[in-house]
């Protein structure tokens, strides 16, 4: 089909000034997740006490794991006279209590607004301490009035790499070269999966951030001040010597990222691919791994791909023409849309609270085989989406997104397939596998079975074969 019919023009919407039921969190939250993915590191917020506590609660409710975030705890006087003293005292106390090897400092709206020179303050602190054993300090600027938690996440990844990467830092363990992998905000299970893939390709990788263990650890008999796991500082220093960087996220094209920095500064070739969800985007990932290593995709993954395609066939009639609303962080939305579209589901509305400016184009890239154009909305909130659904009389069969979609899904009377972050109303959000053929297999089975359950429950017959 060469001519793609145009979707009807959007009806005029009232231009809301306020944000109503937000589809995003603030930038420092993303940064704290990244800092939690560094070995021996403690996240630290330069701002008032509440920010750390709210973000801890938000993250704990998803991962169901301890998430200690320290703070400089601004008071009124601090705000007037500057936060240097609090920052220094906070860093000192955190060091004596947690013995971190690194403290990852993120700013907040308060400290950005009063114009704190964090870089200068940290410099002063380093001078004051001058202790060999003192923790490394890295910092990222994350004003909450700019962007979303995803911007905070990517900016923190970039800031850490910028501040730690060193030319010639020798990765002694990696004899035949290694690669950097910057996956973005994915689940702990996704991170474990990526490490498994790299190992199966015999490719040493620096995966950053890596909270696969720090935010999904085993039961303990002693409280770990800082949980085991995370990307090592040595590996982060050596990112400059990698033979390539892979970063996930089609919408990152407009952003300065760790991969783009390493390419510019240290000539480490950067390869950006979409979040590998579904066959098409996973193919791109495995192809990239093949090119990088010169190795064929291991049989294990070929089999996973084969089974996935076989499952698509088994389930295609249940999904063909079903309409979905996809809501979440931009790159997750792109990946999910690509996956849904290849199964026969019609993604009628794809939306995100994020606003990179690249969402529409990224979705267009992964849905070229679709006969209908997909409605794409960025920078939106849940009530705007609800109004658009009502106005256009969209009749979705299901929604897919974080548990923040639950209210809208309930209102629409459709099931919600919970993916991404945050998942606050179910257990195990950190163990959902989204990536690769294996992740798509799990999502596919879940979606088909959810729709079958709806069909079974809403039928008076009580089918026992479907």
């Amino acid at each position: 089909m060469s001519t793609r019919p145009r979707t009807p023009k959007a009806a005029p919407r009232p231009n809301w000034v306020s944000t109503r039921n937000p589809c995003k969190a603030c930038a420092p939250l993303g940064a704290t997740l990244v800092m939690r993915g560094i070995k021996g590191a403690l996240p630290f917020l330069h701002g008032s006490q509440g920010c750390a506590t709210y973000m801890r609660r938000y993250i704990i409710s998803h991962f169901r794991e301890p998430m200690d975030i320290a703070t400089s705890g601004f008071s009124e006087a601090t705000t007037i006279f500057g936060g240097g003293k609090n920052l220094h005292q906070g860093l000192g106390n955190v060091t004596s209590q947690y013995h971190p090897s690194l403290i990852g400092i993120a700013t907040t709206c308060l400290t950005e607004t009063i114009g704190e020179d964090v870089s200068g303050l940290l410099h002063e602190y380093r001078e004051l301490i001058s202790d060999e054993a003192a923790p490394l300090l890295v910092h990222v600027s994350t004003p909450s009035y700019s962007g979303t938690h995803m911007d905070g996440f990517h900016d923190a990844v970039c800031a850490v790499v910028e501040q730690l990467a060193e030319a010639g830092a020798s990765p002694s363990a990696y004899i035949n070269g290694f690669a950097n992998l910057f996956p973005g905000l994915v689940s702990s299970e996704d991170l474990r999966f990526l490490k498994e893939v790299a190992a199966d390709f015999a490719l040493p990788i620096t995966l950053f951030p890596d909270y696969s263990e720090t935010l999904d650890g085993p039961s303990m008999d002693k409280y770990q001040k800082i949980p085991e796991g995370g990307t090592t500082i040595a590996a982060l220093r050596a990112t400059a010597s990698a033979k390539a960087s892979i970063e996930f996220g089609r919408t990152l094209r407009a952003k300065r990222t760790a991969a783009s920095f390493l390419q510019e500064r240290f000539a480490v070739p950067a390869k950006r691919i979409g979040l590998p969800i579904g066959v098409q985007e996973s193919d791109a990932f495995f192809a990239a791994m093949e090119r990088l290593t010169g190795n064929k995709t291991p049989e294990k993954y070929r089999m996973e791909r084969g089974r996935l395609v076989d499952a698509y066939v088994d389930g295609h009639k249940y999904l063909f023409g079903k309409r979905a609303i996809v809501l979440g962080d931009e790159d997750l939305v792109v990946g999910l849309t690509s996956f849904l579209a290849e199964t026969g589901v019609v993604p009628i509305l794809c939306a995100s609270g994020g606003k990179s400016g690249a969402l529409k184009r990224s979705i267009a890239e992964v849905t070229t085989h679709l006969r209908e154009l997909v409605e794409v909305r960025d920078g939106v909130d849940f009530m705007t989406i609800a109004e658009e659904v009502a106005l256009k009389e969209f009749k979705p069969d299901f929604m897919i997104g974080s548990s923040k979609c639950a209210k809208l899904a309930r209102q629409l009377g459709v099931p919600l397939i919970r993916v991404g972050f945050p998942i606050h109303d179910r257990i195990g959000g950190q163990r959902i596998l989204h990536l690769g053929y294996r992740g798509a297999q799990q999502l596919f089975d879940l979606i088909v079975n959810t729709l079958l359950e709806v069909k079974q429950n809403s039928s008076s017959i009580g089918y026992s074969y479907l």
Binding site: P14, W16, V17, S18, T19, R20, N21, P22, K24, A25, C26, G47, S48, Q49, G50, C51, A52, T53, Y54, M55, R57, Y58, I60, S61, R64, E65, P66, D68, I69, A70, T71, S72, G73, S75, E76, L87, Q89, G90, L91, G92, N93, V94, S96, Q97, Y98, C109, L110, T113, I114, S144, Y145, S146, G217, S219, M220, D221, K222, Y223, K225, M383
Partner: protein, 454 residues
Amino acid sequence: MADILRERERQVYRKGQQQTFQLDCEKQSVAGSVSQRACVFCGSRVVLYPITDALHIVHGPIGCASYTWDIRGALSSGPELHRLSFSTDLKEMDVVRGGEKKLFAALCELIDAHQPKAAFVYGTCIVGVIGDDVEAVCKRVSMEKGIPVLAVQSEGFKGTKKDGYRAACDALLRIVGTGRTEDISPRSINILGDFNLAGETWMIRDYYARMGVEVVSCITGDGRIDDIRRAHGAALNVVQCSGSMTYLAKSMKEKYGIPSIRVSYFGLDDMSKSLYDVARHFKDQEMLTRTQTMVREELLRIMPLIDGYRRALQGKRAAIYVGGAFKAFSLVSALRLLGMKTVMVGSQTGNKEDYDQLRELCDEGTIIADDSNPLELSSFLEEEDVDVFIGGVKERPIAYKLGIGFCDHNHERKEALAGFEGMVNFAREVYGSVMSPVWRLAPRKRGNQLEVVR
């Protein structure tokens, strides 16, 4: 004992060890201590949140609104406006140019769309810095829309959660006194400091109805603006959660001469005493008799259930870390009723009198801590070999990671734990956690060996 920061040494105490009891409290959290406390904004937001027919808008960048969207288990018998999250979502340019225009437009559009009975505008950190005249905007909107539009001075850094409580009470005080009171019974009360978590206010209201007491307003559980307007017509303020509501009660005493009593609806003793205290206040023998009959009926109904749980829980060890210390008193007693021993108790915001009272109440050797943190709490749990930890969502993973039971007694919970029925729920929940077989597999009990559990 735990590794405690030097600055915090006087905020932790073990009963019976030190000669003099001089617990430091009501202090700003130490920088870098990883306090479990929140901020001024949080204090205001939790107190006003359950007012169901008001518009609650957060003036600031998006985070504060995101993190408090539908966060409390505060139920409504009618409007659900409180469960939506509204924000001015300030951006870079707003910070530079000021957010007043945006706030004005946001308020107008939201009031038009939702027709609330009042609007609360929560100030966040940067509002206090960029110098928006929120009060002026509120005044203008109030004139135009004909409803109270109240600026809540809740800039996060301007104090502690307690200052947020006070800011919330200040906003409430501007609503109280604006309604008609002539048809209110002389035997009437305001319920202060119950937030209708899992329908608790409804249970309490039912008790008062059975006693023959008129409830004028609930502040703020299942709260309604029109009821709060009439609150000054009540004969008595019955104050739970004293940390947040004492200031309101005091102010209403000064302004309207309404006396108040402090109560707690948690645990059987405290629950019964609260109802008797109210009945005695009205010096009405018939009411007292009705109350006695009701309490007897309730106790007869639930004691057999409680006894069953007590047999299983006898001698188990509990730790408590909650927001307000007053709740901790009731919890220590409630746990005692279940045959359990409280080995550690602490709060985020207790004051000197609270801690004195806690010390009286606790057994020898009990650890008492103010404004504690994960490292201290985890070490208390380990040292004291605790069976169940009672706290909120932020405390939960500390217990679970160590293979220790947990009971959520914070504002997000979905279980009603107040009242007589609530005591049964509490006992069931503690029992359900302590007696679970999963702890047998946890390393704390048996190490990490892989052999078959016998």
